[in-house]
């Protein structure tokens, strides 16, 4: 694809969204039978599956922590998730995203309840269209809750950025590629604490503050959808039984 002349026309973005609008979001909890918890999230053209196993016995044993559980996270992109086939396996980028995703999720999980155990989180990107690390974190938080793991809160994440001089919410791959700035943000919505903040490009101080408050607004919407997905998982079954 070639660079379009303008990414924002008459205040509308290429896909017709307003600058402060999310892509269509769909979250479903409990999609995998063999996992302890799972979630599937679609955000625009992103399709991401998260699975949680555990708490379970930690192997290898030397990585056990005597006083707490260990959260392990793997972010992986399917070879067919992007336009040009991605070489399978971990690379520099996915190792970094696995690490930041783990650090974004760790503060909400009551790890100290499960000494010596491990909780494994797998984030599989089936189709990517920018913002996969944030969407992956959103999915992983729902999967953790679905696994029945005690948590202080959920984690909601979204990216903000600057495109054609405008601060926009939830960038698409075109906006990511040709925009000036991309800033993924993950928060614990209840206490409004940031658990992930990265930035590629530059903002002025004022732009940064504006972008951050936009990200908080986006996360708020995602948080509601997450809670809704968890409730739906059980209310559907309740109707079946009656």
């Amino acid at each position: 694809m070639e660079k379009p002349e303008r990414l924002i026309v008459d205040g509308k973005r290429l896909d017709g969204r307003a600058p402060d609008e999310l892509r269509p979001l769909r979250i479903k909890a409990g999609v995998l039978k063999r996992a302890d918890g799972s979630a599937y999230v679609e955000l625009g053209r992103n399709k991401i599956l998260a699975a949680v196993y555990g708490p379970r016995e930690m192997h290898p044993r030397h990585l056990q922590q005597p006083d707490t559980a260990v959260l392990r996270c793997r972010y992986n992109m399917a070879p067919f998730s992007v336009e040009e086939r991605k070489r399978p396996g971990p690379d520099r980028r996915s190792v970094e995203i696995s690490k930041v995703a783990r650090e974004a999720l760790e503060p909400v999980v009551f790890l100290e309840l499960y000494p010596r155990a491990a909780i494994d989180v797998f984030i599989e990107v089936l189709q990517a269209d920018a913002g996969t690390r944030t969407t992956g974190i959103t999915a992983a938080a729902v999967a953790l809750a679905d696994a029945g793991i005690p948590m202080r809160d959920l984690v909601a994440a979204v990216a903000v950025g600057k495109v054609d001089g405008t601060i926009v919410l939830d960038l698409t791959s075109e906006e990511d590629q040709w925009g000036t700035t991309d800033m993924p943000v993950a928060i614990m919505p209840r206490k409004k604490l940031i658990t992930l903040l990265q930035m590629d490009g530059h903002f002025t101080g004022e732009e940064f503050r504006q972008a951050l408050s936009l990200a908080f607004k986006g996360c708020e919407q995602i948080y509601e959808a997450q809670k809704q997905a968890l409730r739906e998982r059980y209310s559907v079954k309740r109707e079946e039984g009656e």
Partner: protein, 231 residues
């Protein structure tokens, strides 16, 4: 002050109440506010708050009766799989309820790898090392029967209020059941067809654990299978 209704479905981080309530399970306190920590049903009982989890692994607790499978032996006892992140330790003396002279006696004749036994959790320390005992009547190695594994979060439903569901299962099917808190159920019965019917009933309870009127539906299902006869 309460922010949820009894039996309401709650999600992690949801505000349940403010003030001096006692937290029993599935919730945590921040200042005077009490939040849910799991997906579950809020259970309010006077000053007590509890969230009944709908999912989750079995975490050993002192006093629980569990069904374990021997996975290893060592010179003074056995290690048991408890369908949990943590394994159970059983010493010979806690199985036989007497002093055992390990120099004179070969303990391998009592239990072997793969044996199933009903045991009670004697103690769990802060490192989640689990000590079991299996000497009391009703505990110990089991023979024959069928072992079924379901989600440990659904076990209270299998037992029912004051054991109502368990009584129904046993009386209608004519089978004998032993329920472990770790999600394992042993079934003994002369009629293989009714044993299988109980397995079906257990899976049904697992699927529909959070619905009401379940005991009656389980009874109806078992009676239907029973009346269909031996063809």
């Amino acid at each position: 002050m309460l922010h949820v209704q009894n039996r309401e479905l709650v999600v992690p981080g949801q505000l349940l109440a403010e003030g001096g309530y006692v937290i029993r399970q599935g919730a945590f306190r921040e200042g005077s506010r009490i939040y849910s920590s799991v997906v579950g049903l809020a259970d309010l009982h006077g000053q007590e708050i509890r969230v009944i989890p709908l999912q989750g692994r079995y975490i050993p607790k002192r006093g629980d009766v569990v069904i374990g499978v021997v996975i290893d032996t060592h010179y003074s006892g056995w290690i048991l799989d408890l369908n949990s992140p943590y394994v159970g330790n059983l010493f010979v003396s806690d199985l036989l309820r007497r002093k055992v002279d390990l120099m004179r006696e070969d303990i391998s004749k009592y239990l072997d790898v793969g044996d199933v036994l009903v045991a009670q959790v004697k103690d769990v320390d802060e490192l989640m090392r689990v000590q079991l005992e299996a000497g009391e009547p009703g505990l110990g190695r089991v023979e024959g029967g069928k072992l079924v594994e379901i989600s440990p979060a659904k076990i209270p439903r299998v037992i029912g209020r004051k054991g109502s569901m368990l009584n129904t299962l046993q009386s209608v099917s004519g089978c004998r059941l032993k329920v472990g808190q770790n999600g394992r159920v042993m079934i003994w019965g002369d009629d293989q067809r009714m044993v299988n019917a109980v397995v079906e009933a257990l899976l049904m309870i697992e699927r529909e654990a959070h619905t009401s009127g379940l005991t009656d539906r389980v009874r109806a299902m078992l009676e239907k299978l029973k009346s269909e006869g031996g063809e």
